[in-house]
C-alpha cells in the first residue's frame, strides 16, 4: 500500500467509507489513497461500488460513516457544487455539457467572471485560453458551439472546465468508452500533462491494458469492499481479474456442453438507417454467438433491427425459413426474444409486478376472449421464478424492489416464457453481481443444449471468450469479422474492434 510514500504526498485519503441504500450495502469500510501527481486506477466490476464511491467523493451522495481528507484537511462536501469548490472535479462517461452553448460558455458555466454585474468576456477569454493551452490544445476555438465538436474534443472542454475550477483531484469515469483510438491517445497525453502538473487523478476503466498504460497504482473494489490495492508494475492481469471477480475463472464460467445444429436465423446484408450496415450472418440452433465491439459500434442497433424495433432499410431476415413481419410482435411470433441492455428505461416496466413483466409478451395462454385467468398465470409465473431462481417475495412484487441480478432474471424469464427459439441478449450481465452472472452463463449453456440459439452482445471480453462458440466483432455498424472462439485472443478482438475503417 502507500505505506512507503511520504504522507505529505498524499492528496486524497478516504477511510472506512460505508454507505447503505435501504437494505443494500453499497460500500463497506472502503479505503482509498491518491497521491499528488499520480494516476490511480479504480477497478471493479459493474455494481462493485465504484460509482457510489465516486459519488461520495463528489458530494452527490453522503456516506453513512467514514472520513475523507483532501490535502490534509477534512473534506465533507454537502453537494457536488461544494465538492467542485473544494477542488474535486468529475469527468463522467456521459458528458455534462450544454450542447447549444460555446466552448467558452461551457467552460465558464457556473463560474462566470463578472464585472459590475455583467459578464467580463475579456477576462474569461484569457482564462479559457490558459486552460486550453495547459491541456496542450490551444487550437480549440472558444467560440465554437459544443455540439459541433467530436466527443473527444467535448471531453477536453470538460477537462478545461475542471482546470478553470482549480481542480486538485480529477476523477475520470470510463473516459475512453466512446472515443476513437486517436482521441484516446490524445486524452492520455492530456492526463499525463495534468499528472505532471501535480494534480491527483482517479482513473476508472474496464480496459486493463489502458490502465497499465497510464496508471501507477490500483485499487480493486468488489461487492462494496476493497479487494486489493498496490503498484500496477508488480501485478499480473490474472491477479487483478481474480481480485475483481473473487473466484477462479473456472468457477465463474460454468460450461454446459452443446452442439450447433441447423441454421435458424439468417441475416442477408441487413442495413438500418445508420447502423447496422450490410450485416450478414447465420446462426444455428444450439449455438452461442458473441458480438464484441466498442460502445457505439452498432451492436445494440443490430439486435434492435433484427427484433423489429428499428426499421430494416435493406436486406432480409429469415427465422427458421420464414420472413417475420416487420414489428416486434411479428418477431416474437417468429420465435425471437430480446433482452434489452437497459433494464431501467426499456427492458422492464419497473413499477409493474414480476408476473406482469414476465408475461407481457405472451398473455395468450391465460386469456379467453381477452379475459385473463390470473390464478393460472400466477402458478406459471411461480414455476418460472423457481426455474431461473428469482429471489423475490412473490409474483406480485414490483420489479423495482428487486436487485439488478434478479431483475435481469425476470427479463430473461420473459424471453423464455414467450418460448423464444432465438435469444438476443444485449449486455445481459451488466451491473449484476458475480454469482448471478455465473448463473446466467450456466443458463445460456443449458438453453443452447436445448437447441436454442443465442446472440450474446457484451463489452466484457473474458465472458465472451469463455461462453461463446463463435465471436463476431462489430465496428462502425459493420460486422467486421466472425471466427470460432478458439481462433480469437483478447488482444485480437480489441484490435479488430478499434481498427479504423479505411473506406
Amino acid at each position: 500500500m502507500g505505506g512507503t510514500a511520504d504522507s505529505g504526498d498524499i492528496l486524497l485519503h478516504m477511510q472506512g467509507v460505508t454507505k447503505h441504500f435501504g437494505p443494500t450495502r453499497a460500500l463497506h469500510r472502503v479505503q482509498l489513497e491518491v497521491r499528488r501527481g499520480e494516476v490511480h486506477a479504480l477497478i471493479g466490476e459493474n455494481g462493485a461500488g465504484k460509482s457510489t464511491l465516486m459519488k461520495v467523493l463528489s458530494g452527490a451522495v453522503h456516506a453513512d460513516s467514514g472520513t475523507i481528507h483532501l490535502d490534509g484537511d477534512t473534506y465533507r462536501p454537502t453537494s457536488p457544487h461544494a465538492g467542485q469548490r473544494a477542488g474535486v472535479a468529475m469527468i463522467y462517461q456521459e458528458l455534462n455539457l450544454a450542447p447549444h452553448l460555446s466552448v467558452e460558455d461551457n467552460i465558464m458555466l457556473g463560474q462566470e467572471l463578472r464585472r459590475f454585474g455583467l459578464l467580463d468576456r475579456g477576462a474569461q477569454r484569457v482564462k479559457v485560453y490558459e486552460a486550453l493551452a495547459t491541456l496542450g490544445h490551444p487550437e480549440l476555438s472558444p467560440s465554437t458551439l459544443v455540439r459541433d465538436l467530436s466527443v473527444g474534443a467535448q471531453q477536453l472542454v470538460e477537462i478545461a472546465r475542471a482546470l478553470v475550477m482549480n481542480a486538485r483531484l480529477i476523477v475520470f469515469d470510463e473516459p475512453t468508452s466512446s472515443l476513437t483510438q486517436q482521441d484516446a491517445q490524445r486524452l492520455f497525453r492530456v492526463i499525463r500533462k495534468l499528472r505532471d502538473s501535480g494534480i491527483g487523478i482517479v482513473y476508472i476503466s474496464h480496459f486493463l491494458e489502458e490502465i497499465r498504460e497510464i496508471c501507477q497504482r490500483y485499487t480493486v473494489l468488489r461487492d462494496g469492499e476493497v479487494a486489493g490495492t498496490g503498484e500496477l508494475a508488480g501485478a499480473s492481469e490474472k491477479q487483478i481479474v481474480a481480485l475483481m471477480v473473487g473466484r477462479s475463472v473456472d468457477e465463474l464460467f460454468p460450461t454446459v456442453p452443446h452442439k450447433p445444429g441447423d441454421v435458424i436465423l439468417s441475416l442477408e446484408s441487413i442495413s438500418g438507417p445508420e447502423s447496422p450496415r450490410d450485416v450478414s450472418l447465420e446462426l444455428r440452433r444450439g449455438e452461442i454467438l458473441g458480438i464484441a465491439g466498442l460502445v457505439g459500434a452498432g451492436r445494440t442497433e443490430l439486435l434492435r433491427t433484427v427484433f423489429g424495433l428499428d426499421a430494416v432499410k435493406f436486406g432480409a431476415i429469415t427465422v427458421a425459413g420464414v420472413r417475420p413481419r416487420p414489428h416486434p410482435h411479428g418477431r416474437i411470433r417468429a420465435g425471437l426474444g430480446l433482452v434489452s441492455e437497459d433494464r431501467k428505461t426499456e427492458g422492464l416496466a419497473q413499477k409493474r409486478s414480476i408476473a406482469d413483466n414476465m408475461t407481457y409478451s405472451r398473455l395468450g395462454p391465460y386469456s379467453r376472449f381477452g379475459w385473463l385467468n390470473l390464478a393460472k398465470r400466477r402458478a406459471a409465473v411461480d414455476q418460472w421464478m423457481q426455474k431461473v431462481q428469482i429471489k423475490a417475495p412473490g409474483p406480485d412484487a414490483p420489479v423495482s424492489s428487486l436487485s439488478g441480478g434478479n431483475q435481469q432474471k425476470v427479463a430473461l424469464a420473459r424471453v423464455l416464457h414467450q418460448e423464444a427459439e432465438v435469444l438476443l441478449l444485449d449486455e445481459p450481465t451488466r451491473g449484476i453481481d458475480v454469482g448471478t452472472k455465473s448463473e446466467i452463463y450456466r443458463l445460456m449453456g443449458e438453453l443452447a443444449a436445448q437447441g436454442k440459439a443465442i446472440i450474446f452482445v457484451s463489452s466484457y471480453l473474458p465472458e465472451l471468450l469463455a461462453v461463446c462458440d463463435r465471436i463476431g466483432v462489430m465496428g462502425r455498424g459493420r460486422l467486421r469479422e466472425v471466427r470460432p472462439t478458439s481462433d480469437w485472443t483478447e488482444e485480437q478482438v480489441m484490435a479488430c474492434a478499434v481498427r479504423s475503417d479505411t473506406e
Binding site: F21, P328, D356, Y360, L363
Partner: protein, 454 residues
C-alpha cells in the same frame, strides 16, 4: 427488520418487504377513501356546530352523489387515459359537444328525419316560408311555381301530421290515468291541425303552441343517445388517432381538439344552446340525474346506477383483461411495451376511444340535468375531471390509477362543494378549498412516492 435480513444474503427479500408491499397496496387503495371520510366528517361536524346539521343527512348525501355523476363518469374514462400516461384536455368541450349533438338529435326528431328527410317542425317552417314568399310575390311568380310549392309543402306537412296522429292515437290507446288524459288532448290537437291544413287557404303561423305536444318518433330517443355517445366515441378516437399518427404529446393534441370540439358545437348550435321541446325529451333522460321521486330506482336515479355499472365493468376490465394489462404496461414504460410486442398504437387509440365513450355517457347525463345542449358549458370541465383522477391517486406520469380512487376523488370534490354551500361559504372560498385539496393530494402522493424510491 431489514438488518437481520441483510445477513442471509444481499438479494434475499425479507418477509417485512412483502408485508410492506401489501400495506402499501392497501394504502394506495384506501388512502383516498380515508381522505374522503375525513372530509365528510369535517363538514358534518362543522355543519352541526355552525349550521342546521342537515349536511350529514341521507338526502343531502344522495344529492352530492347525484351531482357528481357527470364528472365521475367522465373521470372513469380519464382514469384509463391517465394510466396509459396520456391526458385529455378536450374532455370538457367534448362532453358539451356530446350533450349538444344529443339535444340536436332530439330536437330534430332524428329517427323520423332519417327516414322521411323532414320532421314536423321543419315541414311546418318550410310551409310557412313558402306561404310568406307567395304573399309578397308577383302574379307571374305565383302561377309559375309558388302555388305549386305551397301545395307540395302543405301536402307533405299533412303527411307528417297524419303520421304523428297515428303514433299519438296508439300512445293514447295504451296510456293510463293522467297520461291518458294528456295523450287524448294531444290527439285532439293534432286532429285540429290536420283539419286546418286540409284548407288550402289556411295561413300557417308556427309558434310554440303549434309545435307543442308533437311527439318524436319512438326511435328518436335511442338514436339521439347513440348520436351523443357516438360523438364522444368519435372525439376520443380522433384524439387517439392524432396522438398516434402525428406523435405529438397528448397535452398539445387535446388542447387543440378541445378548441375544435367547442367550435363544432357552436357550429351545430348556431351559437344558441339547443333546447328540444318538453315533449321531445323522454322522461328517462330528463330524470337521469334528477332527485325527483319518480326518477329514482332503488333510491338512486338512472345516472348513478349507470355510474356504478360502468365503474364495476371498468375495474374488471383494468384488472382482468389483456387490454387492461397492456394499458398499465404502456403507462409505466412504453419502451418495454414495445419490446414485448404490444401494439402500442392500437392500444393507445383504443384507450382514447374508451375515454371518449365515457365522455359521451357523461354528456348524456349532463344533457339530462338541464335538457339543454350548450357547447360552451363544457369549457373548464376537464379540469374537474382530471382533478378527480389525481385526487384519487392517479399519476400523470402514468402507470397508476384506480377506479375506486377516481370515484372517491370525484366525490371528495363534490363533498367540498356541497359542504361549503351548506356552511354558507361564498363561491371564491369554495374554489380555493378545492384547489388546495388538489395540491394537497398531489403533495401527499409525491411524498409517498419519494419515500419509496430511496
Amino acid at each position: 427488520m431489514s438488518t437481520d435480513n441483510r445477513r442471509s444474503s444481499k438479494n434475499e427479500p425479507s418477509e417485512a418487504v412483502t408485508h410492506n408491499q401489501r400495506l402499501e397496496a392497501l394504502w394506495n387503495l384506501l388512502g383516498p377513501v380515508i381522505a374522503l371520510v375525513c372530509v365528510v366528517a369535517f363538514f358534518a361536524i362543522a355543519d352541526m356546530i355552525f349550521a342546521d346539521g342537515t349536511f350529514a343527512s341521507w338526502r343531502n348525501m344522495r344529492t352530492v352523489i347525484v351531482q357528481t355523476c357527470v364528472v365521475a363518469i367522465a373521470a372513469l374514462g380519464m382514469t384509463v387515459i391517465i394510466i396509459a400516461k396520456g391526458i385529455d384536455l378536450s374532455a370538457g368541450t367534448a362532453l358539451a359537444l356530446c350533450a349538444t349533438t344529443l339535444a340536436w338529435g332530439l330536437r330534430e326528431d332524428a329517427a323520423y328525419r332519417a327516414v322521411h328527410w323532414t320532421n314536423f317542425a321543419n315541414a311546418s317552417v318550410s310551409l310557412q316560408e313558402a306561404q310568406e314568399a307567395r304573399a309578397v310575390a308577383s302574379e307571374k311568380q305565383r302561377l309559375v311555381y309558388l302555388d305549386a310549392l305551397v301545395e307540395l309543402r302543405r301536402e307533405r306537412l299533412l303527411a307528417v301530421a297524419r303520421g304523428k296522429l297515428t303514433q299519438l292515437a296508439a300512445a293514447a290507446e295504451s296510456a293510463q290515468g293522467p297520461a291518458r288524459r294528456k295523450a287524448s288532448a294531444d290527439v285532439r290537437a293534432m286532429e285540429q291541425r290536420i283539419e286546418k291544413l286540409k284548407d288550402p287557404e289556411f295561413q300557417l303561423k308556427v309558434d310554440p303552441n303549434w309545435l307543442r305536444g308533437v311527439p318524436n318518433s319512438p326511435w328518436t330517443a335511442p338514436v339521439a343517445v347513440l348520436i351523443g355517445v357516438g360523438t364522444g366515441l368519435l372525439a376520443g378516437f380522433f384524439n387517439g388517432l392524432l396522438k398516434s399518427s402525428l406523435r405529438i404529446v397528448p397535452f398539445i393534441v387535446t388542447l387543440g381538439t378541445a378548441s375544435i370540439y367547442l367550435g363544432l358545437g357552436n357550429l351545430l348550435s348556431g351559437n344558441v344552446p339547443i333546447r328540444p321541446g318538453l315533449d321531445q325529451v323522454p322522461d328517462w333522460i330528463s330524470g337521469i340525474v334528477s332527485n325527483r321521486a319518480d326518477a329514482l330506482y332503488l333510491g338512486f336515479p338512472l345516472g348513478v346506477w349507470l355510474l356504478i355499472v360502468l365503474s364495476v365493468v371498468l375495474a374488471l376490465v383494468l384488472r382482468f383483461t389483456v387490454f387492461g394489462r397492456h394499458v398499465f404496461a404502456i403507462g409505466s414504460n412504453e419502451a418495454t411495451a414495445r419490446l414485448c410486442g404490444i401494439n402500442v398504437t392500437a392500444t393507445r387509440i383504443a384507450v382514447y376511444t374508451l375515454g371518449g365513450l365515457f365522455v359521451g355517457v357523461a354528456g348524456l347525463c349532463y344533457f339530462g340535468r338541464l335538457s339543454t345542449g350548450n357547447p360552451t358549458a363544457g369549457v373548464g370541465m376537464e379540469l374537474g375531471i382530471i382533478a378527480a383522477v389525481t385526487i384519487g391517486g392517479g399519476s400523470l406520469s402514468g402507470g397508476r390509477g384506480t377506479v375506486i380512487g377516481t370515484l372517491t376523488g370525484a366525490l371528495t370534490v363534490a363533498v367540498i362543494d356541497s359542504g361549503c354551500n351548506q356552511l354558507g361559504l361564498p363561491d371564491p372560498i369554495q374554489l380555493i378549498v378545492v384547489g388546495a385539496a388538489i395540491v394537497a393530494a398531489a403533495a401527499i402522493d409525491r411524498w409517498r412516492q419519494g419515500g419509496d424510491e430511496e
